[in-house]
Symmetry: C2
Subunit: 420 residues, 2 copies
């Protein structure tokens, strides 16, 4: 009998965890990813805000999996799935057949039908996104320094982060710290501390996935760091000069999109109905209706649990789905009965806000402020893959903590590659 | 009396050392650079070969100079100098007047009239260059892994480094180590160790600035690391498939240019005769003939000393020129007689070859092999600017040394951004 062929699309938390959980299974795995690395996405905002460099939060997939002999890694983009032929088509024109498929290609940022906003309000999903954001944020201060017109200068010193979820909160808090502390004394014509950082949220409160008490605490902490938190403010337009909300135009040369995600377009080729965000509603065993040989996991999947609650789009959810899919596959191949439906184990919810400020909601334990920040720090360093990365991240953070400096304030790429 | 205005173009070794040596002078300095950072160029090849990340070898100019109150830093490109008006013109259309000008905009790689080779054989002068090279080098192995045709696969596993100077030697040695050690066990269809790394030199020996004995030792060490050293082999053509030398076409999908540099084009606007490489032949006090208010230093200058020897284009030379220019300016402003003509103090010549191999020529002391490598390591860590960088570099190197791993094997940028 030929070896069972598994194709896994995406080397994020879901895909990588599934791959590793199949290390002793009698299968042959092809892991396909567009990037050559697994990315520790929860710290991506640190690369965007010049605190960490790319290799600190990324590790080559080949290296992670070099010892797992039933895996082959391929650097490629999957264009579409052909479910009836059990085949995926790659961007280089070739195709690969599978017996079992796991789609875990994640999400990208989405502009809710306003794709024309993209050039003016980049999002944050990949390392390239992070380096673009870093360039824009650092260059805004340079433009302000060179600008002689007071009004234009103010527009360069106005930053808007659209979306009050964890990413928006992290970006806003860190940017305020950069403006107030990191850049102090470095400019001659502007005072970076006069920069305005607005966190613009459409809904009534930021961090809506947290209890209301913690949302309120997070807002207070952000305000103490110098962020203007603007809630109830859906964005209606964005261009190179600023954004409009509630009918009012707000000048801001640098706008960052942290508001919406949409599932990878790959899901469309499955031929099943998707939810509003383009995700695949999967069965309780994470397979696609009508296709028990196709699994979907991570941000690409919508999983409604028995209690009616959806699994949140966070790293632990993706890891758990990945491991679960591996378990279903192993049981099938061994002729065992299937495991019980997937159930998300919620270990809690963390968000960092800035220097020594965070909110934590773990098993009913609600923390905010300095202690929550230490909790957040420990959890993130612990979960970073690879000894080297952990050490390097710790050192960078320790130095940043004492000196207010940010190690990676290096502009890469063309300096004119901005919206202006 | 108005403050004496000094414009310094370029924040490399020459420009930065001049700026710092003027910290107590009664002047107002404008330091203009295209990049926001000072770059420790001697380690740039480590970024290209994925051993270090960009922030390890770069530091923001603003940050370095934040405490020096007579300096203003501007991120801009100088388009041309207008010597009669004592004015420089920037790319944003604005201009700046000076009383004294220091041009230290350095060199870029040059293709000796074959600019059409540039897309197929990128060079290494900036961080963006290094990241492009890193992408090409890492992607070549990915292409080879995906290729099914044996001959095409061999072409992807063939690398040519054109130019046997220090940069070429460093790149070739490190690339051989990556192929033989770092990538071991990570691929399923290719053996990375079968990659051919050719170091192609037009002249009769590599490292021609070193004594012949050390050139020979370096060649032996390179060959032990797995590099094919090809001397007496001027390159006649380069395209996406390979290069031609001595009438013979050699397939190689990845060619790196480490052969020629030319001075920054800015020199042309001075209206004086330049040397063959586009450098400015300066007077013994590093001023431009006919323009005592214009200094040129670093790779942009040709300085012939009393003994007829030119100052080599290395970091210590640039630093010494920068400090010298500052001294001339200080003496002038104080009404003191000028200092004696510039004289290069030669502390020796170092080149690293690869894992535990280097050559050192210091005051007649000639070393090669492991001891030379430790010497090289100590010198480079010592001269890296900034505590954080030094520590991070040391840690990365220590880990690389023990594990053969390279911390920065992360492909950034579009994967199709290659010559193929």
């Amino acid at each position: 009998m030929a070896t069972h062929r598994i194709v896994i699309v995406g080397g994020g938390f879901a895909g990588l965890w599934a791959t590793r959980a199949l290390r002793r299974a009698p299968v042959s795995i092809l892991l396909i990813d567009r990037a050559n690395h697994h990315l520790f996405q929860p710290l991506l905002y640190q690369v965007a805000t010049a605190g960490l460099s790319s290799p600190d939060i990324a590790a080559p997939l080949r290296h992670i999996l070099r010892g797992q002999e039933n895996v082959e890694v391929r650097l490629a983009t999957v264009e579409r799935v052909q479910p009836d032929a059990r085949r995926v088509h790659l961007d280089d024109g070739s195709s690969v057949d599978y017996d079992t498929l796991l789609l875990a290609s994640g999400a990208t940022h989405a502009y809710f039908g306003h794709d024309d906003w993209a050039p003016f309000a980049p999002g944050l999903k990949t390392l390239d996104d992070a380096l673009l954001l870093r360039r824009r944020l650092l260059l805004a201060f340079e433009h302000a320094e060179a600008e002689t017109d007071a009004e234009k200068r103010r527009a360069w010193l106005s930053f808007a982060i659209v979306g009050g979820g964890p990413t928006g909160v992290e970006l806003a808090g860190t940017l305020a710290e950069i403006a107030r502390h990191t850049l102090r004394r470095e400019f001659r014509h502007i005072d970076p501390a006069s920069a305005r950082v607005r966190l613009v949220e459409a809904g009534p409160r930021i961090l809506s996935s947290f209890p209301e008490l913690l949302s309120a605490k997070a807002q207070k902490q952000l305000e103490r760091l110098g962020v203007d938190v603007v809630t109830g403010s859906p964005v209606e337009a964005i261009d190179a000069q600023g954004y409009r909300s509630n009918g009012l135009f707000v000048p801001a040369r640098t706008v960052v999109w942290a508001a919406g995600v949409a599932a990878s377009k790959l899901a469309r080729s499955l031929g099943v109905e998707l939810d509003r965000a383009g995700r695949v509603p999967v069965l309780p065993d994470l397979t696609v209706p009508g296709h028990p040989e196709i699994f979907v996991a991570g941000d690409l999947a919508t999983v409604i649990q028995k209690d009616g609650k959806p699994v949140p789009g966070v790293a632990p959810g993706a890891k758990q789905m990945g491991s679960y899919v591996a378990r279903v596959i192993r049981d099938r191949l061994a002729g065992r009965p299937p495991p019980p439906p997937f159930r998300y184990r919620d270990y809690g919810n963390l968000a960092t806000i800035g220097r020594m400020a965070a909110v934590v909601d773990v098993h009913g334990l609600k923390l905010s402020g300095l202690f929550a920040w230490w909790f957040w720090l420990a959890a993130h360093v612990f979960f970073l893959i690879g000894f080297r990365n952990r050490l390097s991240v710790l050192i960078n953070w320790a130095i940043a903590y004492w000196s207010y400096q940010r190690a990676a304030r290096i502009i890469i790429g063309h300096k004119n590659d901005d919206a202006g």
